[in-house]
């Protein structure tokens, strides 16, 4: 099993969600983070002074999937999150040692 962690633009959330649902990925954890990267901040105006924001709001979606689904998921994320401009975000993949479904106590792949 792998954990896939995608950092995307907030306005892509619904599209990515739909793209994932389309390939039957339904277990997801979503959170908002503040990101720094190459993307220069949005400019905001504060009483006549333009300020550049260091940290930009991003959405992080994490899902644990079985090994065979990894590439499919990555593809779906890229397709739905990509705009081509700097700041589109990243996908990180990690190994998962185990998964347990609290309700049933099932472990491993069946628990997903």
């Amino acid at each position: 099993m792998k954990k896939i962690e995608a950092v995307v633009r907030p306005n892509r959330l619904e599209d990515v969600k739909e793209a994932l649902a389309a390939i039957n990925i339904n277990g997801i954890m979503i959170s908002q983070i503040m990101g720094c990267g190459r993307q220069k901040g949005w400019k905001e105006i504060y009483r006549g002074t333009i300020v550049e924001l260091n940290f930009l709001p991003k959405v992080r979606m994490e899902m644990v999937v079985s090994d065979k689904d990894v590439e499919k998921v990555i593809k779906a994320i890229i397709q739905s999150a990509k705009t081509g401009e700097i700041g589109d975000g990243k996908v990180f993949v990690y190994d998962v040692a185990d998964v347990i479904r609290i309700r049933t106590g099932e472990r491993g792949d069946p628990a997903l």
């Binding site: 306005n11 619904e14 908002q32 983070i33 905001e44 105006i45 924001l53 709001p57």
Partner: protein
Amino acid sequence: MPGINSGDTTWVLVSSALVLLMTPGLAFFYGGMVRRKNVLNTMMSSYGIMGLASIMWVAIGFSMAFGPDFGGVIGGFNWAGLSGVGGAPNPGYAPTIPALAFAIFQMMFAIITPALITGAVAERMKYSAQLIFTLVWSIVVYYPLAHMMWGTGGWLKNLGALDFAGGNVVHVSAGVSALVACILLGKRKHHGVSSPTPHNIPFVLLGAGLLWFGWFGFNAGSALSSGALAAHAFLTTNTSAAAALLSWMLIERIFNKKPTALGAATGIVVGLAAITPAAGFVPIWAAIVIGFVVSPLSWFGISFLKRKLGYDDALDVFGCHGIGCIWGGIATGLFASSAVNPAVTNQGLIFGTGNLMVSQLIAIGITIALAGGGTFVIMKVIGLFTKPRVTLREESDGLDHSQHGESAYPSFTGLD
């Protein structure tokens, strides 16, 4: 100043301040209901109009609405810049207060009316287009309507139609204009797919509380003097709000098991709207009826009609204000009583003949036609010069960022 009554003047000035506060109240009522990425834009729709409509009123609005009559439909420019409007009373409008105080009080109505409309086009209309719309709409729809209904020589007034505090002039006109504008603008992206998400319901309640408070100025202030009539309008206002609040909770309890806070706030507002045309004309018991009935009507409009017809009136301006005050105007035709207010020359249907009801229906019809037609034309004309709607990208980024370059709560994390 001869003829000026200090108690009456105080009442009208305080009422003016109360009505002014309703617009910030509306900003919170509306602002709490939109997604968090659109809250500042939604609030700015109201605040910006506080600036624009105030200046317009001083410059030409008062004169066009209440100035010397032209053909029963509009006032002349004689009082432009409020020239000649000063400390002496205008006996035709309010004999015991400075004419300036009357002009001030009416100004507050000219502010909140276009602000009401912005709720329907929330989350997708360009801010600049909103301000332009307000400017033109005030001239094309509001000033003539106010003149016809309330101005000396206005033909709806002469017809005998009653509108105590702006049922037609303010609420029906705003509600119908809102409906037309939101249809022309089109639905929000994802509307109907993702859930509508009021981002801050306590703000909605704050807005409803301020509106209730301010509405005493709106309705009881429309007596334009302190005393028995003001007290009467004060109580009908409170009673209708209370009854509508209870009946909205009741409906929700029946249909959805649980009374919601958003529903309660909505009930308050429709109850206040519905009693507006009737406040100084109907008995107290009628206020209970008016309030109790308006919630089911609006609720039906919002939860069935809107879904059926498929328009995207974001914050239900038509459902609340339009439907609410069409009912209010009809109810005035039913329940108006000369025992309550000697200015009622034709009694309501239940007390006498149907004359008043006919005038009421005509007045409502004219209001719908003028507001609907006017808005249609204005939106089309604006569309010739600019796209009134933001781009899809701007819509999904949120209007706070795209229209104002800000975010409302930058140090709170969350998802819209």
